[in-house]
Symmetry: C2
């Protein structure tokens, strides 16, 4: 049973990693990551990093149908990644947690830089 490599007194995975182990918690994390695992949604988040934007602006920027963008925004809103502030007949969309969201993406870029680098590049 070579399973306590962390030394100490039988460390729990969650305590070592700081990431939950239960299925529910993992599903929650996976759900949030799933919301981030779409290029168009990432483009939306990036665009929102510059400030508030209307849906129609995001639609024009992405070159997608308005319904598609609206659905993506609903996804991001469900995950609490963006918030919408009604302004007249428009909706001003903005990042709910700019710094934390950026932290996840930055960490992912760093990881991507290492994982994809040694495989194909020098």
């Amino acid at each position: 049973m070579a399973m306590n490599q962390q030394g100490g007194t039988a460390p729990d995975v969650a305590e070592v990693t700081g990431v939950p182990t239960e299925v529910d918690a993992l599903s929650a994390v996976a759900g949030l990551l799933h919301a981030l695992s779409d290029p168009n949604r990432l483009a939306i988040l990036e665009h929102l990093a510059l400030g508030e934007h209307r849906v129609v602006d995001l639609t024009a920027h992405l070159g997608l149908a308005q319904s598609t963008v609206s659905k993506h925004l609903a996804c991001l809103r469900d995950c609490g990644l963006v918030v919408s502030r009604p302004s007249g007949r428009a909706s001003m969309i903005s990042l709910a947690q700019p710094e934390l969201t950026h932290a996840v993406l930055a960490a992912t870029v760093r990881l991507l830089d290492v994982t994809s680098g040694p495989c194909g590049a020098a």
Copy 2:
């Protein structure tokens, strides 16, 4: 609509956020995040955080079919998240980038903690 980015004087989204803006780069990031957006794959990564494991061990741990686990591992291997070291007739699987991978998950947990908290909890 203020969209002067690539000028060199005005700040580019990528420079502000540190996250690429091109579709290819976004797709790459999205692909990596997609690999992380599955509860079972997250469970695999967490389990591997404790050290090397055989496929059959992961299979027993997850309670999934061997083919399913193998496919998940293939996904993770394609993304460069895990590496496999042949050992006899078994394959020892381990994290390729434990710290960077953990950094992404930790940042996601932090984000989840904020996004899911204020919505339903106090």
